[in-house]
């Protein structure tokens, strides 16, 4: 039996689903969110256990293929050099994200006209700027104002500590005369809005038991549920339904916690399932009107998948760097090599991120996002006693260009626990990215030496980090032309006028920064456009 219809149906309770629900609160429309996972309960945070690191290799792995929890869907990654990682539950991947919060830059929205690659976005940095600010206030962003790498803005809270590691690297960048700045982070440097400040535990990927990290389970969802937004958990959407006459979306079919398939009708359907989950759902929603998947007349659904391929270089210093103390991802960020410079042999650019070091087990197993145990025997003892405590590293985070062959399709055999076809990833590194990573590794090496490193540890192969598909973008890209894009400049499907997409899949290009700040700013921007155009929303 169908449920009572709602005005707005959001699929996915992660970063973007929560932000758009908040934006639409003041319309007083009836909003329902269907989420395939559940709430994370206080007792579930592994960082309260003595053996907390083990969780990273089991129930709290960032890789759904390793976790294999009932709410997860498997992903075929046989044809990819990077595996997508995520969290499926209330908060989405902001449960295990690391909270690094850089904005994209003005030039990121104009890569085609500036550098002849990728695509121009139909909107600009300046369209998003007020929504970045709004989201920063809602999330509680810490950072230092007046970063010369951006048009001026001021994060609402002071920066989190850089620690000895950040200070040491900053001196290295200064010695080279290169840009760096304390990272903006979705992590509280002070108690804020009833939430507790960060205690520098260093296990942000294991959820944040302090509530200091800006996961939407701590930021938006408590407000939304109080305000009457209905959040139905353990509800996995299998298909979006379309009226064969009007071509409008009428609602969805979903598997409920009772194991039954339910129908939910809605006036407006908003997808927020992330850059893999959203194209998967659209490709699974076929009909006579849309035989190749819903909203896919352009053939672009699932194409142009972008990650941010990464590699890392570490230096060994004389003093202990105390890299396990403080939020994992972020101490300082250099954007010296972010903008294009043709003399470097590639277009676009990358950031040098000072991730803090990880905990001993993860280091011994190869590092976060890597499966390559360090040597055993006497060498192991030497590395752990005389190298590990003295490490400071830089991660090269490169822009990924949109390429049609990098894509999400449906696996013909693999399914999730409800029998819904699972996604398959086909992805290979572009030559431009390879050149960029190589350049970045050399610059990272230089700056570590300038900072006083006595030895440099470099991989010496051209492999990127495997479990580093943290950022999934581009698979339903926005654009003005319905022939080459899936949604318009405010997230509305070109083909289905009451279907919106708000997650990272609508990015036209990836920039070289972590995307969630932009994903949520975009969701707020789209919410604003929906409200502005409400009288003729479906014209």
């Amino acid at each position: 039996m169908p449920n009572e219809p709602v005005d707005v149906l959001i699929v996915g309770a992660g970063a973007s689903g929560a932000a758009i629900a908040w934006s639409l609160l003041d319309t007083r429309m009836r909003i329902l969110c269907l989420e395939q996972g559940g709430h994370l309960h206080d007792k579930d945070f592994p960082s309260r256990r003595e053996d907390y690191e083990l969780a990273r290799y089991g129930e709290f792995s960032c890789d759904p293929n390793v976790r294999g929890l009932p709410q997860d869907y498997p992903i075929n990654v046989d044809d990819s050099c990077i595996t997508p990682v995520n969290w499926n539950g209330v908060g989405g991947s902001t449960i295990n994200f690391l909270g690094h919060w850089p904005r994209m830059k003005p030039s990121d929205f104009r890569t085609k006209s500036l550098d002849g690659v990728g695509a121009d976005w139909p909107i600009s940095y300046h369209d998003l700027a007020p929504f970045y600010d709004m989201n920063d206030a809602n999330t509680g962003i810490s950072g230092l104002a007046h970063n010369p790498a951006y048009p001026d803005y001021t994060p609402p809270l002071p920066p989190i500590p850089m620690g000895i590691l950040g200070q040491t690297l900053a001196k290295g960048f200064n010695a080279k005369g290169w840009h760096w700045w304390p990272s903006d982070v979705a992590i509280l440097s002070r108690d804020h809005n009833g939430r507790q400040k960060c205690v520098n535990a260093g296990t942000c990927d294991l959820g944040c038991a302090a509530g200091a990290k800006g996961g939407t389970n701590f930021t938006y969802w408590p407000i939304l549920e109080n305000a009457g937004v209905e959040l139905r958990t353990n509800a996995r959407v299998r298909e979006i339904l379309v009226d064969p006459d009007s071509g409008f979306a009428t609602g969805v079919l979903y598997h409920g916690p009772d194991g039954q398939v339910h129908e939910q009708r809605a006036e407006l359907v908003i997808l927020a399932c992330n850059g893999v989950g959203t194209p998967r759902l659209l490709l699974n929603s076929t009909s006579a009107l849309f035989p190749d998947g819903l909203a896919n007349r352009s053939g672009q659904v699932g194409r142009n998948l972008m990650f941010h391929p990464l590699t890392g270089v570490a230096g060994v210093f004389d003093e202990p760097m105390r890299g396990h103390e403080g939020p994992m991802a972020c101490s300082i960020l250099s954007q010296e090599f972010y903008e294009s410079d043709p003399s470097r042999g590639f277009v676009r650019g990358y950031g040098l991120h000072s991730g803090r070091s990880t905990t001993p087990m993860t280091y011994a197993l190869g590092g976060y996002g890597i499966d390559n145990p360090i040597p055993w025997g006497a060498q192991h003892r030497d590395i752990m006693d005389n190298v590990y405590p003295y490490l400071a590293g830089l991660t090269v985070v490169s822009e990924d260009l949109p390429e049609e062959h990098n894509r999400v399709t449906l696996d013909p055999n693999l399914t999730d626990s409800d029998g819904i076809p699972a996604p398959k990833i086909s992805y290979r590194l572009g030559d431009n990215t390879r050149a960029m990573l190589k350049h970045g590794e050399e610059r990272a090496r230089e700056v570590l030496l300038a900072a006083g490193a006595k030895r440099i540890l470099q991989k010496g192969d051209d492999k990127v980090w495997w479990r580093a598909g943290w950022h999934q973008m581009g698979t339903c890209r926005m654009g003005d032309d319905p022939e080459t894009s899936v949604v318009n400049g405010w997230g509305r499907s070109h083909d289905v006028k009451n279907l919106f997409i708000v997650d990272g899949s609508i990015f036209a290009t990836s920039g070289a920064v972590n995307p969630t700040s932009t994903i949520q700013a975009l969701a707020l921007f789209i919410g604003d456009r929906i409200k502005t155009n409400i009288a003729n929303l479906f014209d």
């Binding site: 030039s107 790498a149 200064n174 840009h179 103390e325 403080g326 405590p389």
Partner: protein
């Protein structure tokens, strides 16, 4: 003696292997993985994971003899002849060893669960931040803004 799914002899051999994988640092009083009883952790893993249990049996069968036959050379040999089993044992050994809070502490990391107390890290003095960022600010802006004029 601890309970394991292996015989006493198997266990003795396994501990000798473990002490080679992660040896002790005698000067600093850090035990090796055998002495740190990682075998009991492996036994729990093996009791839940038949594939891993089989891999450990394969390795033990390959080193049959006395513990004096368990040498670094023998380990290097196993690394090439039974690479998957060796890699699985190595991975679980690292997990078992470093899931012990006292082993973490030996390499400078807190013995406590990291929540609720975390670590005390002081924020930088604003004067220090000012001093460190001064050269960066002095260079001026480092971004292109093709749309600045469009939106005024």
């Amino acid at each position: 003696m601890m309970e394991t799914i292996w015989t006493h002899e198997d266990n003795t051999q396994l501990e000798a292997i473990l002490d080679l994988l992660i040896p002790a640092n005698i000067e600093r009083g850090i035990p090796g993985a055998g002495e740190a009883r990682v075998a009991s952790y492996l036994s729990v893993v093996a009791s839940r994971n038949a594939k891993f249990a089989g891999q450990v049996r394969t390795l033990l069968a390959s080193v049959s003899g006395t513990i004096h036959d368990i040498t670094p050379e023998k380990m290097h040999q196993l690394e090439t002849t039974v690479p998957d089993a060796f890699r699985a044992l190595l991975t679980e050994t690292y997990k078992g060893y470093y899931s012990r809070p006292d082993m973490r502490a030996h390499v400078g990391v807190g013995i406590h669960p990291v929540h609720p107390n975390g670590y005390a890290v002081l924020p930088e003095d604003p004067a220090l931040l000012d001093e460190l960022t001064a050269p960066v600010r002095a260079r001026g802006t480092v971004f292109r803004d093709p749309t600045a004029k469009e939106t005024g």
